[in-house]
């Protein structure tokens, strides 16, 4: 495929702002948790996403090891091998393949009732590089019943374009997060997490096309974006008295809003239970919906300064269940524990104002998300 054509193909799926946000998120949004050094563990995962003409798969590895009872070092490597023939790509270009590698190093340090987490991550693909630094402080207060998290991340991205030497732009991201987890009863906890993400720079895609009067032109997005997300969560042990197999219930709600006019609602309900000694079932239902960004249009009737046909900024919703089954292969108490798990999630995506070019019908598709993990704690 000619570089220009391939570039156009990549264009349809590239979202520079999202790229940056996610890169920054690599180390961010750490949930509030009790102040303990993370346990020593190793994980290997094979992951697969298949939906809407896109297949993304690859391995991932995580190793975490503590030293001197105060410090824990961690390293992660994550690979995404993408084969893309999504509707965006086939509309304006042709199928392509691309691989992204991400590495991350982290350090956790415990001081009295505080846990300090410092990490750096780097994500590299042929036409996009992202580097992130992150610091989080977790503090136990009120006799350990309340845990408070303060966090900050900064990310710098370089945006490239196939066929164009050098970089076409840069983007910078700042993330601030605040979280509180509260033990309510011996069975229930609740948490609230607030995160602000601010972006500046080249937040559009050099490839993606918008549609105005039926003609395709390059999209143009604002150079800044400020967003906030508030997530409320409650988790409880609902095991009946005398029952052997433990059960838990979790309910999450997240409200998202930003200066691009996007408002999002996420609702997730989860139910976990031990099936038998060594067997654990995790299940959940998730629903998400959003309205479109101010400058989003499937086919703009007038030419405006900012215009985009990025599906992620359209009016859409998705829904689906997920299930994970884990089995303990070997367990030597106090020494090590080895588990094998398999996970499957089904997601149904529906777009209200993104249409299929030839038919004019609203676009929708199904996706399957699969992974299997071999993990060990030691």
């Amino acid at each position: 495929m000619p570089p220009a054509c391939r570039g156009a193909a990549v264009a349809a799926i590239r979202n520079a702002a999202k790229v940056a946000g996610l890169a920054a998120g690599a180390l961010a949004a750490t949930s509030v948790q009790a102040v303990d050094l993370p346990e020593d563990r190793a994980e290997t995962m094979y992951h697969l996403y298949d939906g809407g003409g896109v297949i993304a798969q690859g391995p991932a590895v995580l190793v975490r090891k503590s030293m001197l009872d105060r410090v824990s070092l961690s390293g992660t490597w994550y690979v995404d091998a993408v084969s893309n023939a999504s509707i965006d790509v086939v509309t304006t270009a042709s199928k392509f393949k691309e691989t992204r590698n991400q590495g991350e190093l982290g350090l956790d340090y415990v001081v009295r009732d505080s846990l300090i987490h410092v990490a750096g991550a780097r994500s590299v693909e042929p036409d996009y590089q992202a580097s992130t630094l992150s610091v989080d402080l977790t503090q136990d207060v009120f006799g350990g019943m309340t845990t408070v998290l303060l966090g900050y991340s900064h990310a710098d991205d370089k945006v490239g374009q196939h066929g164009t030497p050098g970089w076409v732009g840069t983007a910078h991201h700042w993330q601030y997060r605040l979280g509180v987890t509260q033990i309510l009863t011996p069975r229930w906890t609740a948490s609230a997490n607030l995160e602000s993400i601010n972006d500046d720079g080249y937040l559009q895609s050099p490839y993606r096309l918008a549609r105005v009067f039926g003609s395709y032109i390059h999209e143009n997005a604002p150079g800044t974006r400020e967003s906030k997300a508030l997530k409320l969560s409650a988790t409880g042990d609902i095991t009946p008295e005398g029952a052997n197999n433990r059960r838990s219930l979790r309910a999450d709600y997240r409200y998202y809003w930003d200066t691009w006019g996007v408002r999002g609602h996420t609702l997730e309900l989860a139910y976990n239970r031990n099936l038998a000694p060594g067997w654990l079932l995790e299940s959940f239902l998730r629903y998400y919906r959003q309205n479109h960004a101010l400058f989003y249009s499937d086919n703009a009737p007038t030419q405006t300064l900012y215009v985009s046909r990025n599906r992620e900024l359209a009016t859409m919703h998705d829904f689906g269940p997920g299930v994970t089954v884990s089995y303990t292969l070997r367990n030597v108490p106090g020494k090590f524990d080895v588990k094998l798990s398999g996970s499957y999630q089904f997601i149904d995506f529906h777009y209200a104002d993104y249409t299929v070019g030839s038919t004019g019908r609203p676009y929708s598709f199904h996706a399957s998300v699969f992974n299997t993990v071999l993990s060990a704690t030691f």
Binding site: V10, I13, R14, A16, K18, V19, G21, L22, G25, A26, L27, A28, A29, S31, V32, R41, E43, M45, H47, L62, T76, Y78, N84, R100, Q102, E104, S123, Y128, G143, M145, I183, P186, T189, N193, S196, I197, S227, K228, A229, K231, T235, D237, R246, S248, R254, Y256, W260, L280, E282, Y288, Q290, A293, R311, E312, D318, T324, K339, Q345, A367, N371
Partner: protein
């Protein structure tokens, strides 16, 4: 204004009551003792036993939805799939 005055009066009264009866209030003690938190520490209470699946899931959402942040999951990556 007619409605504000009773509210202000109630607030002032409550403040006076609290200040005069201050010695009667005990500081709030942690009401769930550490030895009562065994159920909360059970693996069944975790959203996920492993860390890596959460990254994949978060990545799937972030590259297809307009929302981001406060997920409580360490994600990672780009918007390319």
């Amino acid at each position: 204004m007619v409605r504000v005055r009773p509210v202000l009066t109630a607030i002032v009264a409550a403040g006076l009551l609290a200040s005069t009866a201050g010695c009667a209030f005990k500081p709030i003690e942690p009401w769930v003792k550490p030895y009562e938190r065994e159920r909360l520490a059970d693996p069944v209470m975790k959203a996920s036993l492993d860390e890596l699946p959460g990254r994949q899931r978060d990545h799937v959402y972030v590259v297809r939805e307009g929302s981001r942040g406060a997920t409580g999951v360490q994600g990672g990556g780009c918007g390319c799939n």
